[in-house]
């Protein structure tokens, strides 16, 4: 009986204790504030490129140390790669009133948050006066265009200007078959026929294909050259004053017909439709296909040990990939970039503790400065790179040992700026990069791009494109594989535009583009 009673008292005691801390949950944070030596506590929620990234021990984290000393703050960063999981996390944080002091989000999500009235007005905080370095990366005009319904509640993080869109081809296969690098669509298809039928890898088996792509089980991959052949560039474009959604344009009829032809001839990797993500690159690395398209800058660099070039070489030492653009007759191979990721502050923080927003803005601006850029992308001068004038020479061994092997933690801090040192007038030399790599970089960078549509677009409240896109993919797939012809596309397109509300959504996009001052006709 005694034991029982003791147990119960213990139980009650713990319940009361936990109840106490629950009720007075607000108070300890104030005490802590005093405890951390007058330092302002900041909580950020940012993003990383790699899910495997982790922060090192405090003594090895030279960026955190620098920021906390320089700005007299105690900075806690939570980070995740972009994706539905991160969106969910952010949702929970915001919905439960525990929004971070500064956070990043995708363009679409920031729009939802703005419509919900969660976001702080940035007018008093973000301006060329408060963020001089930031505006070296982003133009004021772009900032204005990025506004949502004329509210200045979100700002884009500096985004990469260079687009590394290119087609890549096996040069050694071409040489073996005595072919030239294709300079137009017909030559490209011819080369693909040769790659399929003439045994380019010389193993005596007919086990190669002209090209692969990743259809993700949805339909027409945007990598298929038939899009560009029909003048459809990127995802959205403005052509002769008309807004065009590339994947649902009337010209998709021809795209389908030509793709069906390619499938019939057997020169397109039959697995392409179900290939997910980067699976087509794997097929290329296995020596199965001779042409792929990609956005990845170092796809075939010698400097990247995981590159397609190096993987292919492991299987066939003669393998040699080169970039090429068979669409010189088109105004561009892709579109210029638009801001995508937004940095945001919650309204509650801006109203109650504006100092937190101000300090966060200062830190962000510092990240965009030369000092911040170099520290967060390459490390410490003298240790991880050497500098003479504007030339930065990296020390790959030190970077490997002290940054990459410590959880590759610079991934956490370099979120604010793209790896484009030329913006700050710097030139970065990676000693691992070969002459070949540099040439490839130059070539791919030089391919022409058409201007973007000028602004991010999103469906207005009450409309969505999810049903539209799903049905569109279904029809694409049906025409490709079952009907084997694009002749029904006008009929299907009509249904998509009306029943699935495509017309309404794209007309809204037209109006959003118009709001930035571009002249566009009504969507048809």
């Amino acid at each position: 009986m005694k034991v029982q009673r003791l147990a119960i008292w213990l139980l009650i005691f713990t319940l009361v204790l936990s109840g106490c801390s629950f009720i007075t949950g607000e108070k300890p944070s104030e005490n802590e504030k005093g405890g951390s030596g007058g330092k302002l506590e900041l909580k950020w929620f940012t993003m990383v490129d790699q899910a495997t990234t982790v922060l090192p021990d405090v003594q090895n984290d030279f960026v955190k140390k620098k920021i906390e000393e320089k700005f007299n703050v105690k900075l806690t960063i939570e980070f995740m790669p972009f994706g539905p999981d991160r969106d969910n996390q952010l949702n929970v944080k915001v919905a439960s009133g525990d929004a971070p002091d500064m956070f990043l989000s995708t363009g679409i999500m920031s729009q939802t948050l703005a419509l919900n009235g969660v976001l702080a007005d940035l007018t008093p905080f973000v301006s060329p006066k408060t963020m001089p370095n930031y505006f070296k990366w982003v133009k004021e005009e772009e900032l204005k265009r990025y506004a949502i319904q004329n509210q200045f509640v979100r700002a884009p993080i500096p985004f990469a200007r260079n687009v590394y869109r290119s087609y890549y081809i096996r040069k050694d296969w071409l040489d073996k078959l005595g072919l030239q690098v294709p300079t137009n669509y017909d030559e490209m298809i011819n080369v693909m026929r040769a790659f399929t039928n003439n045994d380019p890898d010389g193993n005596g088996k007919k086990d190669t294909y002209g090209m692969s792509a990743s259809g993700n089980g949805k339909g027409l991959s945007i990598d298929l050259p038939q899009y560009l052949h029909n003048g459809l560039i990127g995802m959205f474009m403005i052509e002769n004053g008309k807004f065009i959604d590339v994947q649902s344009d009337p010209r998709v009829e021809n795209v389908i017909d030509e793709t069906v032809q390619m499938i019939k001839e057997g020169i397109l990797d039959p697995d392409w439709y179900l290939n997910e993500g980067e699976a087509h690159i794997d097929r290329a690395a296995q020596g199965k296909v001779g042409i792929v398209a990609s956005h990845t800058r170092d796809l075939i660099w010698d400097a990247n040990p995981q590159s397609l070039q190096n993987k292919s070489k492991a299987i066939d030492p003669k393998a040699d990939w080169i970039p090429f653009n068979p669409f010189k007759d088109q105004p561009g191979i892709w579109t210029e970039t638009l801001p995508e990721t937004a940095f945001l502050f919650p309204k509650s923080v801006a109203e109650n503790e504006p100092e937190k927003v101000k300090r966060s803005v200062q830190i962000l601006d510092w990240l965009a400065s030369e000092e911040g850029y170099l520290l967060t992308h390459y490390g410490v001068e003298g240790k991880h790179y050497t500098r003479s004038g504007n030339k930065i020479t990296l020390k790959p061994d030190a970077i490997q040992k002290e940054i990459v092997e410590k959880g590759n933690f610079l991934d956490v801090y370099d979120f604010f700026t793209p790896a484009e040192p030329e913006v700050l007038g710097l030139e970065v030399i990676d000693p691992r990069m070969t002459e070949r790599d540099r040439k490839i970089d130059e070539t791919v960078k030089s391919y022409p791009k058409i201007p973007s549509i000028g602004t991010n677009v999103a469906p207005p409240k009450g409309l969505n494109l999810a049903d539209f896109r799903a049905k569109m993919h279904e029809y694409h797939s049906k025409m490709l594989f079952d009907e084997k012809s694009g002749k029904n596309w006008p009929k299907y397109r009509q249904e998509l535009m009306t029943k699935y509300k495509g017309q309404d959504v794209f007309q809204a996009y037209v109006e959003q583009v118009r709001a930035t001052g571009t002249k566009v006709e009504d969507f048809k």
């Binding site: 089980g217 969505n464 799903a470 797939s477």
Partner: protein, 321 residues
């Protein structure tokens, strides 16, 4: 408790009630420590399972993050209207029901069969080995199962199609074929989950009184007779219980698996409610919409569970409650 009281009248009822209450109070007092110990569990269910159910009201509101659950504006049945006027929604409901039904029909019998077969094996090590092997796939994630299915069934690199090509036949697009899609779903589901499903039956088989078998043997019953008269009746209740629980989840056709196996060529037979909601939610963060769908699914599930339970009782089973 008050059901009897309501049928009686006046003072009688009152005193009856009072004595009942008193009896209850006495009983509670006598077992007070047990009740107290039960309290944390009850509180847990109340706080984490019953209270959140209130959140279902956002299915009838336009949920706004700032305004929260209570202050978001009421919109009545708007979200339900939107769901049921969405194009292709009936196709997704049909697919959901069909896939679920297939899963129940073709998914439950293999579990039972495997358990019965394992039960008949007398060699200990063999039984254990088989059990471990069949149990293994349960721990694989659907992503891996899909990767396996892909490496067997892919049009070019797949094992089966490579074989077909070598035999001079035309390769078959298994994974993108509307007719095969549900079969592939159910088959991979059986492969993955049968071992685990059998464990539950094995446990209830072990609970059957061995004296019954001994008595049957004395009465001259063979293996089949024993199976029919002792084993099967012995696990009937577990079978019914699992069946009723599965019927309750008929509107969940297994999101994770379907989402991973789905492609645009098989939407006609494979697109389910959950994948539809996922596409919608991903784009627009429509909390209210997602809740409305969840509510709809919950109500259907509840009605079916109660119905199935009644049915089970009518046919002489014990049901869940």
């Amino acid at each position: 408790m008050t059901r009897h009281a309501a049928t009686e009248t006046g003072m009688d009822a009152l005193t009856h009630k009072q004595t009942k209450l008193a009896r209850l109070a006495r009983r509670v007092y006598r077992y007070r420590w047990y009740y107290l110990m039960m309290l944390p569990g009850l509180v847990y269910f109340l706080i984490y399972h019953y209270l959140p159910m209130v959140g279902v009201v956002i299915a009838f509101k336009d949920f706004n993050l700032i305004k929260g659950i209570w202050h978001s504006p009421w919109v009545g049945l708007k979200h339900f209207e939107e769901i049921f006027t969405s194009p292709d929604i009936y196709r997704t409901i049909r697919n959901t029901l069909m896939i679920s039904t297939y899963r129940i029909i073709f998914g439950m019998l293999p579990d039972l069969l495997l358990a019965l077969i394992l039960n008949e094996i007398r060699v200990r090590w063999f039984k254990r080995t088989v059990q471990t092997i069949t149990y293994g796939p349960y721990f694989l994630s659907w992503v891996i199962v899909y990767a396996l299915a892909f490496s067997f069934l892919a049009p070019e690199s797949g094992l089966v199609n490579t074989l077909l090509r070598h035999l001079g036949m035309n390769p078959i697009d298994f994974l993108t074929n509307q007719e095969y899609f549900r079969t592939i779903l159910v088959t991979t589901d059986i492969w993955k989950n049968t071992g685990f499903g059998a464990v539950i039956y094995l446990a209830s088989l072990a609970a059957i009184n061995p004296q019954l078998y001994e008595a049957a043997v004395v009465d001259g019953a063979g293996r089949w007779r024993q199976l029919w008269h002792i084993t099967l009746p012995g696990i009937r209740n577990v079978f019914l219980l699992l069946l009723i629980l599965r019927i309750g989840h008929i509107m969940d056709a297994g999101f994770e698996q379907v989402y991973i196996f789905l492609n645009a060529r098989v939407y006609e037979t494979g697109d389910i409610i959950d994948t539809w909601v996922f596409r919608r939610g991903l784009e627009n963060l429509e909390f209210s919409m997602a809740t409305a769908v969840g509510f709809f699914k919950g109500v259907v599930g509840l009605v079916l569970v109660i119905g199935a339970n009644k049915l089970a009782k009518r046919f002489g089973g014990s049901g869940i409650w």
